[in-house]
C-alpha cells in the first residue's frame, strides 16, 4: 500500500464548503478519478482519507492537504492529474507527494487577511488591531466541545508578520497557533475588531501550514 498526500487549494466559491462536505466531495472525486484507492474493510466500505487540518467555513486555503492510500504505486504526477480532473476548478490539486511529516508536526498557520470597506471603519480596525496586539495578554471566550465557554489567552498564539494599510483596505499576515493539540481560529481575534462583517468585509486566506521551525508542512 502506498500513502499519498495531495496538496490543494480551496478558493473562490469553494470556501463556502464545510469540512464535512469537503470530505464527501473528495471521496466522490477519488471515486470518479478511478484511482486504485484503498477502502476500509467491513460491511460498508468507504475510502480511507484524512485531512491534516480542517479549514473553517468561509476561509480560503492555498496549501491544504489530504492523505489517502493507493493499492498500487502510480507516478505522483498522474495521481495529481487524475484527481485534479475529477474536481471543480476551485478545489485545485497542486501536487501529490509521499507524506514526509506527521500532522503532529504542524505548529503554525499563516493567514493573509484583508479587510475592505468604509475607509474610516477600516482605519479604526487597524488601530484596534495594533492595540490588541500591543497587550501582554489577550483573553477571549472560546466555546468548548461540550458547548460551554472558557476564557483563554490567545496572545502567545498570534504573531503579526506584516501589515499594510491603504484607503479602505487593510492587509496583514498573521501566524496563528495551529495543530492537533492546540488550534486557534483567527476569528477569535477578528471578532474583536469593531464593525467586522458589517462596516467592512474580511477575506481570510490560509497561505501556509508550518512547523515549529516555520518549515512548510510536507
Amino acid at each position: 500500500m502506498y500513502d499519498v498526500r495531495i496538496f490543494f487549494s480551496k478558493t473562490g466559491r469553494a470556501r463556502y464548503i464545510s469540512h464535512l462536505d469537503l470530505n464527501r466531495c473528495m471521496q466522490r472525486a477519488l471515486k470518479r478519478s478511478g484511482l486504485p484507492v484503498v477502502y476500509t474493510q467491513g460491511f460498508n466500505p468507504h475510502i480511507r482519507n484524512t485531512f491534516a487540518l480542517p479549514l473553517s467555513l468561509g476561509y480560503e486555503g492555498e496549501t491544504e492537504t489530504m492523505d489517502f492510500r493507493l493499492e498500487q504505486e502510480l507516478p505522483l504526477e498522474e495521481v495529481a492529474r487524475r484527481l485534479r480532473e475529477s474536481l471543480p476548478a476551485e478545489l485545485f490539486v497542486l501536487r501529490a507527494a509521499a507524506p514526509v511529516m506527521k500532522p503532529e508536526k504542524i505548529r503554525w498557520g499563516r493567514y493573509a487577511i484583508e479587510a475592505r470597506g468604509e475607509p474610516q471603519a477600516v482605519r479604526r480596525a487597524a488601530e484596534s488591531l495594533r492595540d490588541l496586539l500591543a497587550q501582554p495578554e489577550l483573553l477571549v471566550e472560546k466555546t468548548t466541545k461540550k458547548g460551554g465557554t472558557r476564557q483563554i489567552d490567545i496572545r502567545p498564539d498570534l504573531r503579526l508578520e506584516s501589515m499594510e494599510e491603504g484607503e479602505g483596505s487593510l492587509r496583514f499576515t498573521l501566524l496563528v497557533t495551529t495543530g492537533i493539540s492546540r488550534n486557534i481560529n483567527p476569528s477569535l481575534l477578528l471578532d474583536l475588531l469593531p464593525g467586522a462583517g458589517k462596516e467592512f468585509s474580511l477575506r481570510v486566506r490560509r497561505t501556509a501550514v508550518l512547523t515549529e521551525e516555520l518549515e512548510p508542512f510536507c
Partner: protein, 615 residues
C-alpha cells in the same frame, strides 16, 4: 455584481453551499454564445429540489442544446431571503449568478400543492410580476409542469403556460418555437397562441370558466381557435429511446436523496384508488435491463456516487428485476457501490430478492399496507392480504431485520373506527409474529413503526369525487388511534391534519383560489411544506378575506356529473373508468392489477391503442 454582494452575506446564513453553485457536473456556458436562457425552478430549498430526478433529466436535456443554457434555481431559506432583500439581490441562477428576470423562461416543477405560495415569492424575489396578466414583452415566459399540473387551475392566473405529462419531447418543441419567436419577432401573445397548438401545452389565459349558481363549474371553454377544448398530456412511447442524463450535478452539501438514480419504469399497474401517481403516469412502460444497467453504470462513473437507486412508483413490479440485478451486482460490488430499491411492495419482496439485496447492504424494511383491515384495503384497492404482509415480515425477520416501518393512511372513504383500530392490531400481530419465530435475531427486540398519514382526495383518481374528512374528524381519529391499546414495541406517528385539508383544497381547487393563494403569500406564507414555517392562521385569514369556504373544496362530495376544474385536461384515464372504480370502492370490490387483467382505464389511447404491460 451579485457575486460581490453574496460575499458580504453568505457567512451570515445557514448552509451557504446552497447558494453558490459551482458543483461538480454543473453546466457553465459562455453567455455570449447562447441565445436562450432557461431557469429550472424548484419551489423549495436546495436540498429538497436537488433530490428531484425530473429536474436533473430536464436540466441535462436542455443543456445538450448548444444555444440553450439551463440553470438551477431554488427557493432561499428565510434567513437568506431576508439578506437578499436587504442587499437588493434578486433571484439568480446558480450557474451564472445572474438575475433570472433577464432569462427567457422560468420553468417551475410542481411536486406538491403546498409549494404554491413559494412560487409567488420566488417570482417576487426575481422582480417579475406574479400575475400573468401583468407581465409585459420584456418579462420571461413563466411555465410549469409536474404532477400538480394535472389540476393547475388554482395557480392558472400566475402562469403563462403549463406542460402536461412527460417533458422530454415537448420541452424541446417549446424551445424550438421560442427560437422562431426570437427570429420572427413575435409578441408574447403570438408565441402563446402558437404554443397552445403544441400537444400537451395548456395556456390557461385562452380558456374561460363559467360558474353556476350552486358555485360549481358550468363549463370551461377555449376563447381562441388555437386552444383545444381538451388538452391531452404527453408521454414518451419508448422509454429505451428517451434521453437520460449521463451525469448529475453532485452537490457539496448533503441533500435529501444524495445518490445516483435510474428510472426503471413509468406508470403503475396497481390502481390503488387513492394514489394520484398511480393514474396520472399511466400507461405502464418499462426500460430494458441493458438500458438501465448502462444508465446506472455511466452515472456512477461520472458522479462518483457510491449508491445507486432503482426508482419508480413500484420497482418490485419491474418484470425483469432479477435480470437487472444480475447485471448490476457484479460491477456494483467490485466498485463498492450500494444498490437501493425504494418503494418495494410487500408482495413483491420475495426471499430470493431480499437475499440478492442483502448481498450489498442491509437497511430498515419499509412498506405500505396503507390500511389496517382487509375490508379497507379492498376499498382502496390495495391488493394485499394480511398473509402476504406476514410472509414478507417472516422472511425479513429470518434474514435478521428487527425494525419494520409501515405506512398507513386514515380518512379514506367508508372508514370506521374499527379500521383505525385495525392499524394498531395489525402492528401488534407483526410484533407477535416476531416473538413466535425461534429463528428471530437472538436477544434483540423488535420495533414496528406505523406512520399514519391523512388521506387527501386528488384529481384523476377514483376518489376525486369523495369528501375529505374535516380537520376535527381527522384529529378525533388520530386520538382514537393513540387510545387503542398497543405495546411499547409499536410506535405510532402521524402528522397535523390541517396541512392535509389545505392540501385537499388546493389539489381540487379552481381558479377562484388564486386570490387566496396570493393573500396567504402576502401574509407571509412560503416554504409551507416545512412544518417550521407553516402557519394555518395565515391561510384561514386569506380564505375569510376572499370570501371562500375551504369546505366547499375539501369536504364536499362531487356528483359524478359535475364539471370538475380539470375536466378539460386529459391524462389518459377516462372519467367513466374513475367513476366505475369509485362505485366499486363503495361495494368493497377490488380491481385486478394490469398484469392480471385489463380494466379499460383508457390510458392505452396515448400509445396508439397498445398497452405495454407484459402479461
Amino acid at each position: 455584481m451579485i457575486e460581490e454582494k453574496l460575499e458580504k452575506i453568505l457567512l451570515n446564513v445557514q448552509k451557504p453551499a446552497r447558494y453558490i453553485g459551482g458543483e461538480q457536473g454543473s453546466v457553465v456556458k459562455d453567455p455570449s454564445k447562447v441565445s436562450i436562457r432557461f431557469a429550472m425552478c424548484f419551489p423549495d430549498l436546495y436540498e429538497v429540489g436537488m433530490s428531484h430526478l425530473g429536474m436533473k433529466i430536464l436540466y441535462s436535456l436542455k443543456n445538450e442544446q448548444s444555444d440553450v443554457w439551463c440553470e438551477r434555481v431554488f427557493a432561499p431559506d428565510l434567513d437568506m431571503e431576508a439578506e437578499m432583500r436587504r442587499e437588493g439581490i434578486p433571484l439568480y441562477g446558480l450557474e451564472s449568478l445572474e438575475p433570472v428576470r433577464r432569462f427567457d423562461f422560468l420553468g417551475f416543477t410542481l411536486q406538491y400543492e403546498m409549494c404554491y405560495p413559494t412560487i409567488l415569492n420566488m417570482l417576487d424575489l426575481a422582480g417579475i410580476p406574479v400575475w400573468a396578466k401583468d407581465r409585459g414583452e420584456a418579462e420571461p415566459i413563466i411555465a410549469a409542469g409536474g404532477p400538480c399540473a394535472c389540476n393547475p387551475e388554482p395557480i392558472a392566473d400566475f402562469f403563462d403556460l403549463f406542460v402536461l405529462g412527460e417533458g422530454e419531447e415537448v420541452n424541446l418543441e417549446l424551445i424550438d418555437l421560442y427560437r422562431t419567436k426570437k427570429r420572427e419577432g413575435w409578441s408574447r401573445r403570438e408565441f402563446l397562441l402558437r404554443a397552445a397548438r403544441i400537444p400537451g401545452i395548456y395556456v390557461p389565459a385562452f380558456y374561460e370558466v363559467a360558474y353556476g349558481e350552486d358555485g360549481c363549474i358550468r363549463a370551461v371553454a377555449p376563447v381562441v381557435p388555437e386552444a383545444a377544448p381538451v388538452v391531452t398530456k404527453r408521454i414518451i412511447a419508448d422509454l429505451d429511446k428517451v434521453y437520460y442524463p449521463k451525469n448529475f450535478v453532485v452537490p457539496y452539501m448533503e441533500i435529501v436523496h444524495d445518490r445516483a438514480m435510474v428510472e426503471v419504469l413509468r406508470g403503475c399497474i396497481r390502481g390503488c384508488r387513492f394514489c394520484q401517481a398511480g393514474f396520472i403516469y399511466r400507461p405502464f412502460r418499462e426500460k430494458e435491463p441493458d438500458t438501465l444497467n448502462e444508465n446506472a453504470h455511466t452515472l456512477c462513473r461520472n458522479t462518483g456516487y457510491d449508491e445507486v437507486s432503482l426508482t419508480s412508483l413500484s420497482t418490485s413490479d419491474y418484470s425483469r428485476l432479477e435480470a437487472l440485478l444480475e447485471k448490476m451486482l457484479p460491477w456494483s460490488g467490485e466498485e463498492k457501490t450500494n444498490l437501493s430499491l425504494p418503494s418495494l411492495r410487500v408482495d413483491g419482496f420475495s426471499e430470493e430478492l431480499a437475499e440478492k439485496i442483502a448481498q450489498v447492504r442491509k437497511s430498515g424494511l419499509t412498506f405500505a399496507p396503507e390500511a389496517g383491515t382487509q375490508r379497507m384495503r379492498d376499498v382502496i384497492n390495495k391488493n394485499l392480504t394480511e398473509e402476504e404482509i406476514f410472509s414478507t415480515c417472516r422472511a425479513a425477520f429470518a434474514g435478521g431485520y428487527t425494525a419494520v416501518k409501515l405506512y398507513f393512511m386514515m380518512g379514506q372513504p367508508t372508514e370506521t373506527d374499527e379500521d383505525i383500530e385495525g392499524i394498531v392490531q395489525l402492528a401488534q400481530r407483526i410484533v407477535n409474529l416476531y416473538y413466535s419465530m425461534p429463528e428471530r435475531p437472538k436477544g434483540k427486540s423488535v420495533t414496528v413503526t406505523c406512520s399514519v398519514a391523512c388521506f387527501v382526495p386528488k384529481p384523476f383518481t377514483p376518489f376525486q369525487f369523495e369528501a375529505q374528512d374535516t380537520v376535527e374528524e381527522l384529529r378525533r381519529k388520530q386520538k382514537h388511534l393513540l387510545d387503542t391499546p398497543h405495546s411499547k414495541k409499536i410506535q405510532l406517528k402521524y402528522h397535523d391534519a390541517s396541512t392535509s385539508v389545505l392540501e385537499g383544497v388546493l389539489a381540487r381547487g379552481d381558479r377562484r383560489l388564486a386570490p387566496v393563494i396570493y393573500a396567504a403569500w402576502r401574509a407571509g406564507s412560503k416554504l409551507d411544506a416545512d412544518d417550521r414555517y407553516f402557519d394555518l392562521a395565515r391561510w384561514e385569514q386569506a380564505f375569510a378575506a376572499c370570501g371562500i369556504d375551504p369546505a366547499f373544496y375539501a369536504n364536499r362530495r362531487r356528483e359524478y356529473g359535475e364539471v370538475l376544474p380539470w375536466d378539460h385536461l386529459d391524462f389518459g384515464v377516462d372519467k367513466a373508468f374513475l367513476i366505475r372504480e369509485d362505485e366499486k370502492a363503495h361495494r368493497d370490490a377490488v380491481t385486478l392489477n394490469c398484469r392480471e387483467g385489463c380494466s379499460a382505464c383508457g390510458a392505452q389511447k396515448l400509445t396508439g391503442g397498445n398497452c405495454l404491460v407484459r402479461r
